[in-house]
């Protein structure tokens, strides 16, 4: 699994980076979203992988950590997801405003000459 996930992270990052280097605002926003997918998986991977480990501790007793997928990276990812969602929304609106005010969707607010 590890190698697959690592490759997945790589591909997502690569496509994302390619896109944020493009001149059109929409490309940039898609690129950033792809990169944030990659980063989320990356953070998760930092806790190492566990397949079919019980996600929920059974009630009543103190659980044995070794039985579970590392919960902390998951918590971090959750926070990261929310924040990147917010930022995507913001960026979208900014690029719409820029499109509206400057009349172009070029990232520099003016067509290259």
């Amino acid at each position: 699994m590890e190698i697959v996930l690592a490759l997945a992270i790589g591909i997502l990052t690569g496509s994302g980076v390619w896109l944020i280097l493009r001149p059109r605002t929409f490309q940039v926003i898609v690129g950033l979203s792809l990169m944030s997918y990659a980063v989320n998986l990356f953070i998760y991977a930092m806790g190492r992988l566990r397949v079919d480990a019980p996600p929920i501790a059974e009630s009543g007793v103190a659980a044995d950590p070794s039985q579970y997928a590392d919960p902390l990276p998951q918590a971090l990812v959750l926070t990261a997801i929310v924040i990147s969602f917010a930022m995507t929304a913001l960026l979208l609106v900014v690029l719409l405003a820029s499109r509206g005010l400057t009349g172009t969707d070029h990232v520099d607010g003016k067509e290259p000459d």
Binding site: I20, T25, V28, L32, M35, S36, V39, F42, I43, A45, M46, G47, L72, P73, L76, T79, A80, I83, S84, A86, M87, L90, L91, V94, L95, A97, S98, L101, T102, V107, D108, G109
Partner: protein, 543 residues
């Protein structure tokens, strides 16, 4: 824990958050109520931060450990989130609240009406800043970075208009990308060291196995890049001058501290983790700071001489200030640390004051606040965007407006150029003194740094004198700009503080040097954070 004094540590985060929450319940039209709440909150913040500063100083004088901690949720230190007040964070908090209060007062004169929800955003900006300065947890630092960034996007775009939106697009895009770097770095560090608490991290570093070291350093390096983007280091800081000069003056003035957050992070994290002694990688990345900083000073100087407008000029002096700080840090002289902090405070205040002043000096008859489309979108819509014709409306017009503006301008210019009589001179002298202080052979890099600092000062003088003479001395048919007390007073206050820094340079410098020592004394911080006891250890009966 002894009651409110301990809870005071968390207040700088909670108070503005609560205040902004309260504002959001208020209808958009209740502008005065919001002004009242905002001013009250920022003023309270001022008092709180002064109290915290005072506590630190008192503790320091008694020789007691000045570092105080606060366990969020009463969860024990390594894995709960800890807030830490020490010499440095207390200083930064005070600086933030001073700038916050003054710029908000300034904003109430006109700018807060340039768009909806200014006050809430402003307070949330303070939440982010204070959180970043207080937290002792790496990921929590990230979260507060995001808070202050998000708020800064809001403030930066406040008032809209093509220029702001264009600059804002770059600002947002670059910083979102940077935040991803921050995440990658933090995640790597967790993956290698298994902790997020900075003090815990510092203790774990020696244990990191040789093969993991490269990974860990990669994480730190990526993290460093993220910090340096915020600090505006060349070549990562091109976004800074346009962004700041597009923002409304009060926002820009508050941003003066924003660019210092990155520096704070570098100071905090890198000195804690890679402080001189017993770390497997002493002085990690120091030379990058040195040369990067020097490049930043050079670029800032160039831009300063090249730019044609005052607001951009100030933007470039932000770069110079950052560069000077970075380079001085990178020079690796412990002696210079105190001076660096002194310079940080002095230049931040000066830049804040200058941003507030620039708009007054450059103010034209046509006012930017105007022309907001006022149409009800839905119930919570903000109608009555701006009081029409406010431009003509005269607040308290002070006679000899020009004299006041001119005086303020000269002082700001002198502060940034590092010339007497204000604190700028002391700051630069102190840094150079520190750089030359060591007894062994002074390396070439240090010489060139000194030269750069001097040259940048001279360039500032050349540029500001040109701009100032044209704007203030040259006879003009423009009607005298209207100057309200609410606009003049904040500038005056900031400059007065700089004067105070000058007059009481001795005690102030003592504080800064104590701060510098506390930063070098890693064990002190680590003990304070890891040794802290839970207030109420869990009792079995509670279950």
């Amino acid at each position: 824990m002894d009651g409110w004094r301990d809870h005071l540590i968390v207040a700088p985060i909670l108070l503005p958050l609560a205040a902004s929450g309260l504002m959001l319940l208020l209808d958009e039209r209740r502008q005065t109520a919001k002004r009242a709440i905002g001013l009250a909150a920022t003023f309270a913040l001022l008092l709180i931060s002064v109290q915290l500063l005072h506590d630190v100083v008192v503790a320091g004088l008694e020789g007691a450990p000045a570092t105080r901690t606060y366990l969020i949720g009463d969860w024990p230190s390594p894995f709960g989130i800890v807030l830490v007040v020490d010499w440095l964070s207390a200083l930064m908090l005070a600086l933030t609240s001073i700038l916050g209060f003054t710029s908000l007062v300034y904003a109430t004169a006109r700018w807060d009406s340039a768009g909806p929800r200014f006050h809430a955003l402003f307070l949330l900006q303070l939440v982010g800043l204070n959180g970043a300065f207080l937290t002792g947890d790496l990921f929590n630092l990230f979260v507060f970075f995001e808070v202050l960034l998000a708020a800064s996007y809001g403030l930066m775009l406040h008032g809209s208009g093509a220029a702001r939106v264009k600059a804002g697009l770059h600002y947002v895009a670059i910083n979102v990308a940077t935040s991803l770097l921050f995440l990658i770095g933090a995640a790597l560090i967790y993956g290698v060291a298994g902790t997020l608490n900075m003090a815990d991290l510092a203790t774990r570093i020696p244990a990191i196995a040789g093969t993991d070291l490269a990974l860990f350093q990669a994480g730190m390096a990526v993290l460093g890049v993220a910090f340096l983007v915020k600090a505006g280091m060349w070549p990562l800081g091109f976004w800074l001058p346009p962004t700041y000069s597009a923002a409304t003056p009060p926002a820009a003035a508050l941003f003066a501290i924003l660019s210092k957050v990155g520096l704070y992070a570098v100071l905090r994290v890198f000195l804690l983790l890679f402080g001189t002694e017993d770390s497997p990688m002493p002085n990690f990345g120091e030379e990058f700071l040195l040369y990067g900083g020097m490049a930043t000073i050079a670029f800032g100087t160039i831009g300063l001489l090249a730019c044609r407008t005052l607001s951009r000029l100030v933007g470039f002096s932000v770069l110079i200030s950052s560069g000077t700080l970075l380079a001085a840090l990178g020079s690796g002289e412990g002696a210079v640390l105190g001076a660096v902090l002194f310079y940080l405070v002095s230049s931040t205040l000066a830049i804040g004051a200058f941003y507030l002043l620039v708009e007054l000096v450059e103010r034209q008859e046509t006012d930017s606040v105007a022309s907001g489309m006022v149409e009800a979108v839905f119930d919570d819509e903000y109608t009555g965007a701006i009081h029409p014709g406010e431009d003509g409306e005269v607040g308290t017009v002070i006679p000899a407006t020009i004299a006041i503006l001119g005086g303020g301008f000269i002082f700001c210019a002198l502060l940034l150029a590092g010339m007497p009589p204000l604190s700028g001179f002391i700051a630069k002298f102190a840094i150079i003194h520190g750089l030359l202080a060591l007894d062994h052979q002074i390396p070439l890099s240090t010489w060139s740094l000194v030269a750069l600092i001097i040259i940048s000062g001279l360039a500032t003088l050349i540029a500001t004198s040109r701009a100032g003479i044209d704007l203030i001395w040259a006879p003009t048919d423009k009607p005298q700009p209207v100057l309200r007390v609410a606009e003049a007073a904040p500038v005056g206050l900031l400059l007065a503080i700089c004067l105070a820094l000058m007059v009481f340079a001795g005690p102030v410098m003592n504080y800064m040097e104590r701060t510098g020592r506390s930063l070098e004394d890693r064990q002190g911080y680590i003990q304070a954070v890891k040794g802290v006891e839970r207030v109420h250890p869990p009792v079995p009966s509670s279950r």
